[in-house]
Amino acid sequence: MDMHNKFIDINDVEMVFHTKKGSFHALRDINLTVQKGEFITLIGHSGCGKSTLLNLIAGLLKPSDGLLLCANREIAGPSPERSVVFQNHSLLPWLTCYENIFLGVERVFGATENRTQLRDRTRAALALVGLTAAESKRPNEISGGMKQRVGIARALAMEPKVLLMDEPFGALDALTRAHLQDELLKIVAKTESTVVMVTHDVDEAVLLSDRIVMMTNGPAATIGEILEVKLARPRERVALAQDARYSEYRTTVLEFLYRKQAHPAKEAA
């Protein structure tokens, strides 16, 4: 039961970067637990350390102090069980969409499964994001939205325990973004994934999340408030637009971001 409630467990995490210009205290006093199957978004102004927190969960960074656990084991480094969808997709440009996904699949399942099974997994991941037709295309031959979908497929194909997404739709136009959010909702419902996602888009956070983790401004940023979004699933964008609770959640987040934590640039002005 404990494992179910505290699938990811972040205890008193501090993050200090030591650079040539001196040390920078990025995160302080971070405590957060994520349940299995939960969809969490991290929201805050730029520079608040939300990507740093995600990289800590990914294991790409090590905390200066404190402890991060995933399924009761310390997060000691990156692992396919916590796969990451990067902001800039990070597909390898010399591999086709299929090969990009296969690279991860082969690493995770190569020891236990035969070639056919690996191929089926890769094809299934492509089908999940609706890109079966693009499997032999290179990243430079497909659109930005399609690249991001391949990135999601690559992450999901490894059957991760946690899916970590760093502003995955940040660079896309509004229509493509909405389309991919809807697809992500369907995929997450189907795969019952645990997701931690960094965003700066309030609507995206309310639409997708079970809980929204709102972060204070840096330096030495921490978790300001956590908002539980109790909207029934499956969620439908157009219907929610007229839902009173949806607007309420939205207002709460906006109030946090623009009243309580006015943008650092504005404070300076």
């Binding site: 990914a58 790409l60 480094g77 990156p78 692992s79 396919p80 916590r82 796969s83 990451v84 990067f86 902001q87 800039n88 997709h89 990070s90 597909l91 390898l92 440009p93 010399w94 591999l95 690279l103 991860g104 690493r107 290179r138 990243p139 430079n140 930005g144 690249k147 991001q148 490894m158 660079a171 896309l172």
Partner: protein, 300 residues
């Protein structure tokens, strides 16, 4: 109409520049499709591409002609052309070790470059990878490379003669020395500049060191490596001519020196053109190769 006449007249001396004109000719159909109404524009564009190089060559020949007319012992363009026709009518004759056709001489030089250059690639590229990946090695080899890189490869020729006790391997040794620096340096820089995003992917996917090398490092370093290879082949081709002048035997550099001893100036001029054309072809081959292996960077 007058434009048509101009090109027709300009076309006649053009064969020498045919290589230069090819890109222009390829570009024409595209323009034609987009704007059918401005029908004479593609033709004018083509003319503008071919006219400057042809004018440049004509100017060069003119200056040459004037210089030749003023001094007595310098051959005119026409004499040189006649000599060239004679020379190229039988490039592969062989009457003795020191009297071979120009084709054999060029091939002998190319063979030396290929061997020296190939060995430099075999040593330099893996060394570049290691220097780029391991900071200790980079600190270890950095000063040595900085010290030896500016040394003329010909200064190494006596060492080659001493060690190999023969002219041919000594010339190859010079080529090896001059080709290896750009290959080491460019490969190492390429490895150091592999985007952090790709390395993060490697870490999240937990790829093995072999997979990182073959699927991430090698493809992303390849464009840098090919730049190094291109710089190296350029220098190698410069150096072989000088090295062969010193070592003798068969080879285009030796041939130039031999013709100087015979006071056959037209042949020297022909050799200069041949060396230039071969160098240009080598360079273009590698540019084409580099283009085929260049990928877009990550940045949505």
């Amino acid at each position: 109409m007058s434009a048509v006449m101009d090109t027709m007249m300009n076309d006649k001396p053009a064969p020498a520049t045919a290589e230069v004109a090819i890109p222009a000719a390829v570009a024409v159909p595209k323009v034609k499709k987009t704007k059918a109404a401005r029908r004479n524009l593609p033709f004018a564009g083509w003319l503008m591409k071919i006219l400057p190089p042809v004018t440049g060559l004509a100017f060069l020949v003119l200056v040459w002609q004037i210089v030749a007319a003023k001094t007595g012992n310098f051959p005119t363009p026409l004499v040189t052309l006649q000599e060239a026709i004679k020379l190229f009518s039988d490039p592969f004759y062989r009457t003795g070790p020191n009297d071979q056709g120009i084709g054999w001489n060029v091939l002998a030089s190319l063979q030396r470059v290929a061997i020296g250059f190939g060995m430099a690639a075999l040593v330099g590229i893996p060394l570049g990878f290691m220097i780029g990946r391991v900071r200790f090695l980079s600190g270890m080899f950095g000063p040595i490379i900085s010290l030896l890189k500016p040394v003329s490869p010909l200064a190494w020729l006596p060492i080659g003669l001493l060690v190999f006790k023969s002219a041919n391997p000594a010339a190859i040794w010079s080529i090896f020395i001059c080709s290896i620096w750009p290959m080491i340096i460019n490969t190492a820089v390429g490895v150091q500049r592999v985007p952090q995003d790709y390395m993060n992917v490697a870490r999240v996917l937990n790829l093995s060191e072999w997979k990182i090398l073959t699927k991430i490092l090698f493809p992303s370093v390849l464009p840098y490596m090919l730049t190094g290879v291109r710089l190296a082949i350029g220098t190698a081709w410069l150096v072989i001519v000088a090295a062969e002048m010193l070592t003798g035997g068969v080879g285009i550099g030796f041939w130039v020196w031999d013709e100087w001893n015979n006071l056959n100036v037209p042949h020297i001029i022909i050799a200069i053109v041949v060396i230039g054309v071969v160098g240009l072809i080598l360079e273009q081959l590698l540019v084409a190769l580099a283009k085929a292996f260049t990928y877009e960077e990550v940045s949505s």
